[in-house]
Symmetry: none
Subunit: 168 residues, 4 copies
Amino acid sequence: MAEGGYGALTIGAVAARAGVGKDTIYRRWSGKPELVYEAVFTTADTAVLPDTGTLEGDLTAVVGSLVEEFSAPAAAAALPGLLADFAAVPELRATIRTRFLSPAKERLTAVFDRAVQRGESAQDVPVDLVLDTLAGAVFFHLGIVGEEPDADLARRIAAMIVKGIEVR
Amino acid sequence: MAEGGYGALTIGAVAARAGVGKDTIYRRWSGKPELVYEAVFTTADTAVLPDTGTLEGDLTAVVGSLVEEFSAPAAAAALPGLLADFAAVPELRATIRTRFLSPAKERLTAVFDRAVQRGESAQDVPVDLVLDTLAGAVFFHLGIVGEEPDADLARRIAAMIVKGIEVR
Amino acid sequence: MAEGGYGALTIGAVAARAGVGKDTIYRRWSGKPELVYEAVFTTADTAVLPDTGTLEGDLTAVVGSLVEEFSAPAAAAALPGLLADFAAVPELRATIRTRFLSPAKERLTAVFDRAVQRGESAQDVPVDLVLDTLAGAVFFHLGIVGEEPDADLARRIAAMIVKGIEVR
Amino acid sequence: MAEGGYGALTIGAVAARAGVGKDTIYRRWSGKPELVYEAVFTTADTAVLPDTGTLEGDLTAVVGSLVEEFSAPAAAAALPGLLADFAAVPELRATIRTRFLSPAKERLTAVFDRAVQRGESAQDVPVDLVLDTLAGAVFFHLGIVGEEPDADLARRIAAMIVKGIEVR
DNA sequence: AAATAATCGAGACGGTACGTCAGGTCTTAAA
DNA sequence: TTTAAGACCTGACGTACCGTCTCGATTATTT
């Protein structure tokens, strides 16, 4: 992944470098997308997000973890091609949210629960849409356009969006 | 594009269906990405955006045009693979903003100019980041996750983001 | 063998159908050629050839037994590929005469002994060459060209050759 | 062919050594059997057989040309596997006589015509059966059993068979 | 009767070849 | 000069079998 990117990675080369037959790869993964996904995005991020006390602070932390996830070298190289391959197959497409966003969704839900209790947020926040927006922003900015992972990025994106959620 | 998606479209098939030699294709386009880009995203959207009088209204209109652009059948089928191919080559990657977002950027700039004059918005709005966020949200929601193009989507995304820009 | 021929027969399929592990096959036979040979050509033909009283009659009986051996369904399906595999390995090639022709050779030797005693044949008949010719004729006619096993075939081949051996 | 035999010859290796893509091979030949056949057995043997004046002499010449054809290094290495592959496919099997024996058949027919005119042979000689016998003898002796091509072989086989054809 | 050894089925494994496909370049003959 | 047609080299694909190997489970043998 790091050497040539998603497109240049071939099952045959992976097998050869692993000292393994191609069959052994195909026995465990159905193809390149599954293999790369598992290799790159399975380091379960179990760190508990801090309770910063404000919606904006919490949201910045969530976006920060997305930035971290999407800007890791292997991930950045893999993401566009990987998502394209998933999106090309209806069955795989349906799993994208779960695969890439389920930890973020849990965190986001917790963040909103706290915000509701503090009275900062309404109860009917459309979590999936917010998540798509956050992830889309990070993915497009880093993965597609290829901007460097600005240290301040998470804060700026979070700030932009938090206002639309807060109860004024 | 519409029949099999970006992955299933081959230069050979395009040439054959066009009753043309492959060379004739390569004489005009450097490869599949350029060909598909020009075929799908070149219907210059020249419609002038209405001046709705409010930042939120104007922004909704901009996001609406993005939704329209990204959810056209051929575009939705092409986008993920197309962006992945562009993103895989540094030279092409640098052109993504221009290619896909330049009309939207013009509009967005105009919208912000008006908002500044109305006192709704500060002068230093980071247009590119806002644009990445809007485009990312729309692309991820429609192109990747594959949600149907909700009629209300543009308004909801715009509403979410406009608050972060408005001067309170 | 009967279902798909020698080429379509795989050790794995044999093992599976036998409800046996592949190792169990390899523990008993060194590979496909040995396995098929033993399965198809080991039904020891112990029938004693009749003493017809003439060289031609005896020879017809010998050729007849060759025809019978080579035209059994499994044998006809196996022979070309089997012989090719044997012929490809020098050590196995050396065993072909013994494996496939030793019963016929015994009979042929006996037939010639009787013919010499009757004065029908010289003493220095080149048994191996005659045998190669008889076997080659039968194998080529049935196994390769694939002619149906004509009931009269043995007599016609024997008649053709007996004249060259008889003392005139 | 000469280096590893029919079994060790692969389309990929042929293509590589020829500096050619595999597709180019498959575009011209349907597979290994056709490729090897054309490479090894297409050097049309156009030499006119001499009219020796006797059936035995003529027949020796015909068998001699078969011996020559089947004992050329590439041919000897190819024949068993090649015939096995042809014999395994009904459509190809039907072509074996034509492919390998048609020049010999022409010669044999001419030889018999002359023999009939000289009164040495009956008119109803079963040419195909004689040819199968001659070819089978040569093939089995050289190709399968692997005997060295004895200089005298053609004469001995011809002598054995001519008697069965001659009118006595 | 318990401990040990041998044998087995299942099938994973590293290899190698298969035949197909698309990419992008090239050659040819006709327009 | 440009074109349609398609051959060409390259390299990856996903599949099939090879013969070896490692597993447990099941028998047999020994203690």
